[in-house]
Amino acid sequence: MSEHHITPLKTYLAVAGTLFFLTAVTVWVSYFDFGSFNIIIAMGVATMKASIVALFFMHLLWDDKKNLTMFVMSLMFLGIFITVTLLDTGFRGGVNSEVEYPINNRATFYDSLPLTDTHGHPVDEHSADQHGEDEDHH
């Protein structure tokens, strides 16, 4: 901490290169459909880029480790928020199945899309009716 770290220009250029490369990767993977992994891949690449910026451009790698701890802690809190919220949205309908997926499937936003069941598989409206889950559909 006491001595000031001076990063060589080479490192900066290498980091910039990596960032450009990862941007290209982001664009490239957007042409493929990985289903539910789309978001995970996109966020993964973005997280990698953000970490590189924080570690090298913002000097967290050479700074007092307390700063890194603070930074990681903030990510940890974000992690807590997202994971625990998923305990709600991922497990709805455990007791009353009618509340499992009503919001998204009935949203006007989704009207243009084919009707799907909870796993994203297309269903035709008549079979859904037989299960009594489709009363509100218009």
């Binding site: 928020f81 949205t89 497990f91 936003f109």
Partner: protein
Amino acid sequence: MAENQKQNYLTHPKGIMSWLLTLDHKRIGLMYLFGGIIFFFLGGVLALGMRLELAAPGNDFVSNDTYNNMYTLHGAIMIFLFIIPAIPGALGNILLPLMLGAKDVAFPRLNLASFYIYTIGALFVMYTIISGGVDTGWTFYTPYSTTSTSNVIPMTMGIFVIGFSSILTGLNFIATIHKMRIPGLTWYKLPLFVWALYGTSLVQITATPVIAITMVLLILERLLGIGIFDPALGGDPVLYQHFFWFYSHPAVYIMILPAFGIISEIIPVHSRKKVWGYKFIAFSTLSIAFIGFLVWGHHMFTSGQSVFSQIVFSFITYFVGIPTGVKIFSWMLTMYKGQVSFTPPMLYALSFLFLFTIGGLTGIFLGAVALDIHLHDTYFVVAHFHYVMQGGTIIAFLGGLHHWWPKSMGTMYNQTVASICCLGVFLGFNGTFFPQFLLGLRGMPRRYATYDQQFAELHNYSSFWSGILGLSIFISIMNLLWSLRKNNKLDPGTNPWGGMTLEWTHTTSPPHPHNFEEEPVLEHGPYDYDKVIVEPTFKK
């Protein structure tokens, strides 16, 4: 030396600009106190107005719409403009550097900036009130808050802005506690109020950004219809509640942890006894701050969240009871065989123990899913959080104000009047809120301007005692202010309670503009009543 002793931060330097542009943490603390008391008064008047309306069934004084505005503003003002900023902003600012032996906080300019940010946020709230109010309840739940025609945007903007004031104060305090302690003042020699402020500050800087995000999303949803919370656009209204309570549950600990700190100071000093379980109290503060982040879903048991997360949240909620119990028992053991004197601050601390314990235990009721589904949105919840927030935080705040008043203002209030007011607050408080537990158990819903005849007797009783409560608080504040009259100054060396922390032993009352004439040398721990004798001194 004599000339130097006459100099104190209240009179030196002089002039209005020296206050408005001050970098002195004590003056900034007093400005926070002044702002906080104004909003406390405003919120209190709204509360008494509601109790007046509820004294009898039917719409006697105000319309339903006005009533909706009143409870929303009462909640929002009390929480965002009084309780959250008041203790860290006022007492924390005045005391933290004094307790550390420092000249000021780590970033004095940032400290002044955070006060002005708070003022700007308060102006937004005032604008909301003047332009017709807001009727969503202080929680701004969607979908009502995205469709209500009242002034949701200025109010939420105000809260957004005030959040930054909280973050900056928290950041400042953390830096101050890490970097500004005098040599020898190690972590385990810190006064417990400092530990409490440290825990509070950690929560402030980690949780407050989330309320800022939530308010921005709400404003964007209203203005642009971006569809985060609106199911018609693929959003999820329950997500709003996750966002809101991810901040607002930890915010409950932003409100109560400083109060714990105050009680941890008052009890050993007025019992003349070393605090029992110092490390237990210190670490229970940090564990409450951490567990507080994992329990937000217990506000949402009837929101339609999954049964699985209800069980998880209910289970984790019980863990909060452990560190809280550790504190209560430590305080009681501190008093055990101590030389307890029933001074006004101690009376407030004792009231706190009773009221907070009731508030905490009824929280355990509400943490149980099955019971909460029955009690949710009834007066049981209203009574519970008032026992915690008013019976806990505000009582501790009043206690702290009475404890450090001679230190910060250099005058002593009339102690008999203060003690009688404390009794009035205690009785008035229980008279107001205990009947509300019964009302809630019988099914009286919260936020209604009128009710069935069967609830009339308990409501009437509650309204009557709320008058006593309001009057007692008003007189106790007036009693403090009355002590500021001329020719009522204490001797600068006064230590009326015999406190052992640096602010009592090493500086004058009121303190020198630079806190200490020379850097204090630590001679003993904060509560070494078993090793050193510090006699209370009280002279005019």
